[in-house]
């Protein structure tokens, strides 16, 4: 037909004789899906209400994260661990989305996803071993605190460089798709990948969404848009309609959701998983809106760039934990007594894991040199010898007693 362009770069485009630029402002902002009111009432009758036992477990997991956050933030202030990053305000996004994934699904995260780990089955003991970098730490004492990972739970270990995990997720999803194609007896699996709205400004975000779309990868990108990247507000991060509006540009099914509404997050993730596995696989983008109530990290005092009253307001007005609590109370599953009991128990469990982990030995010194390559190279072997000589010669300069096996490893 005459008015179709037929240019290969945009085959569905039509010619127009009206000279008109597309203005972002003429497009309505993508709406934010919610299915529960701030009072805990379900307002979307189409959603499947989760079983009560799961609802209670998810509530406990959110509380567990918030209790651990308070204890560990304080522990860092006392100098007992070197660093910490809380996730106050974002427990709903993490616990809600993780609850909709299967155990075999592979997860890549940024660093503010303690709720994902908790919901998957990472225990206080596992968190503490990593935070104290003791000999039970999966990462063998090499990574900064909060850089968790678990092979058993199919969560790749966190690394500090932002957004690098987004193309990894696309590649991993392609691998899962190929593995199932080669062996149809494998269960269908997706990859879920978490990142903040600041990380979405990195080139790796662009590279990842584009390649995930062109290679039809079964991956769910979950952006935690919490309003700030350290001190930078979103107004200085982007000028488009958040992160969600970009998904459409890459040809990716996209949704924006209220991150404080755990049932909305869960439902959206559940549907995203179905979409991601359909027709041989494709990516989905979820932008979960929330507010970073906590400081960025223990190295940050956020009142240097935002008003205390703004934070207090978010804490009170809308909070994923209180919203789920209201839901549970309305179903007669929860009350003040249970709340006090659970908080007391979780706090005790957390503190027990804390003090156990603090007392543990650090990994053996040898762990410093291992896993650079599959085999220790002759060069590194020689350096192990050099370090040992140094420790022998200057025993008073280096305290090795806290490391398992001392210098004899």
């Amino acid at each position: 037909e005459a008015w179709s362009c037929r240019f290969p770069g945009a085959v569905n485009s039509k010619f127009t004789d009206t000279l008109k630029f597309e203005h972002p402002s003429t497009y309505p902002a993508i709406p934010t899906y919610r299915c529960t009111t701030p009072d805990g009432d379900i307002i979307d009758s189409s959603i499947e209400p989760p079983p009560d036992s799961l609802a209670l477990l998810m509530y406990e997991n959110m509380i567990a994260v918030s209790i651990m956050d308070v204890i560990m933030f304080e522990a860092q202030r006392q100098g007992r661990i070197s660093f910490y990053m809380p996730s106050q305000g974002e427990e709903g996004t993490c616990v809600g989305s993780a609850s909709a994934l299967e155990k075999e699904d592979v997860i890549f995260s940024q660093y503010r996803e303690a709720g994902v780990f908790m919901q998957r089955g990472f225990k206080f003991e596992d968190f503490m071993s990593q935070l104290f970098a003791n000999k039970n730490d999966n990462g063998r004492g090499r990574n900064m605190p909060v850089h968790y990972g678990s092979k058993e739970l199919n969560i790749h270990t966190i690394s500090s460089p932002l957004a690098t995990q987004i193309p990894h997720a696309a590649g991993a999803a392609y691998a899962l798709k190929m593995q199932r194609r080669q062996n149809p007896s494998l269960p269908p699996r997706v990859v879920a990948c978490y990142f903040g709205e600041g990380a979405a400004s990195e080139g790796d975000f662009h590279a990842a969404l584009n390649i995930a779309a062109t290679r039809s990868c079964p991956v769910i990108f979950i952006c935690r848009n919490n309003g700030y990247a350290i001190s930078t507000p979103t107004l200085e991060q982007y000028r488009g309609d958040g992160i969600a509006s970009r998904g459409v540009g890459y040809g990716i099914d996209t949704i924006r959701v209220d991150g404080n509404d755990i049932w909305a997050v869960r439902e959206v993730t559940r549907k995203a998983r179905e979409i991601a596995l359909k027709d041989g696989g494709k990516p989905v983008l979820i932008e979960a809106m929330s507010y970073r109530i906590s400081h960025h990290s223990t190295s940050d005092d956020s009142f240097a760039y935002r008003a205390r009253v703004e934070v207090e307001d978010w804490k009170r007005r809308d909070n994923p934990i209180t919203r789920l609590r209201k839901y549970l109370e309305k179903k007669d599953l929860w009350n003040d007594e249970k709340e006090a009991e659970v908080r007391k128990r979780l706090k005790a469990e957390c503190l027990k894991a804390f003090s156990d982990a603090e007392k543990e030995k650090k990994p053996s010194l040898r762990a410093m040199f291992e896993d650079i390559y599959e085999e220790i190279t002759p060069e590194i072997q020689a350096q192990i010898g050099e370090l040992r000589e140094m420790l022998d010669r200057y025993p008073d300069e280096y305290d090795v007693t806290e490391f398992e096996g001392g210098k004899e490893t």
Partner: protein, 334 residues
Amino acid sequence: QNPELPAEVRSGTTQQMNLFQSINDALSLALASDDSVLLFGEDVAFGGVFRCSMNLAEKYGAERVFNTPLSEQGIVGFAVGVAAEGMKPVAEIQFADYVYPAFDQLVNEAAKWRYKEGKGGRHVGGLTIRMPCGGVGHGALYHSQSPESLFTHIPGLTVIIPRSPIQAKGLLLSAIANKDPCVFMEPKALYRAAVEQVPTAYYTLPLSKAEVLKEGSDLTIVSYGHPLYTCNAAIEQAEKDFDISIELIDLRTVYPWDKECVLRSVQKTGRCLVVHESMVNAGIGAEVAASIQEDKETFLRLEAPVMRVAGWSIHMGLMFERFNIPDVATGGRD
């Protein structure tokens, strides 16, 4: 005649191949022998801009041999993810000159993966990154670079540069089979120029092992990749002119490198010259020279300073390449 190859490979059929054909042959054998091998990058599906992946998409399917969007950080990041789930991606960067957008993925992710994962033991060892490198006569600033020493400064990466079709095939198959991430740099000037009879069977050549190409007693020359041909010609000339005997070593893997082989040779000859195309400053030659003088036994045997013949500390200007890449005459300048 290559003693590193198993007897059945040596006695098997051979075929005349140039370097791009032997790489194509290696890729084809890797894809045939292991379902988890995937091949991708910019323009690899139609055969690649240097023809290294000719006919592979047709033979092994568009799901295993495919084009990616034009994004180096995306290619390497994607490959890291594929490898993290246990597969063996062979990713191509169209020119080594364009690997820098992927530097973060290589340095911070691929190289550190096994280390950061720790106990779980997960790794991205299935990863191989191929890239054409080196001068080609008219490549100028962005089609001539040899950035190998930028990678040799990164613990966790294995950096390999072959000199010939037989070697390229064996080393590439080793890189793909190896359980550490490998950077495989292909001297593009040799794609068509280097031709030999290559065994058609699957075979590998050892990594991190140098090869003594010619024994000698008065001087050790250490090099790798394309300049080995120049070294050969220079040695022929020098041995005639000066009545000396020169030992020639091909590093093959420039990191982790075969220090022992080089030290042993220099202990015998007492003199060493390192030759490479990339610029002299902080290049492979600097590491080789420092290692020689640092080793007490070798240092005491030295009869002359270790010398380097390498590119100048400049960019590769289009019209000036022939004055920058080491040739037979510059080999004699020391």
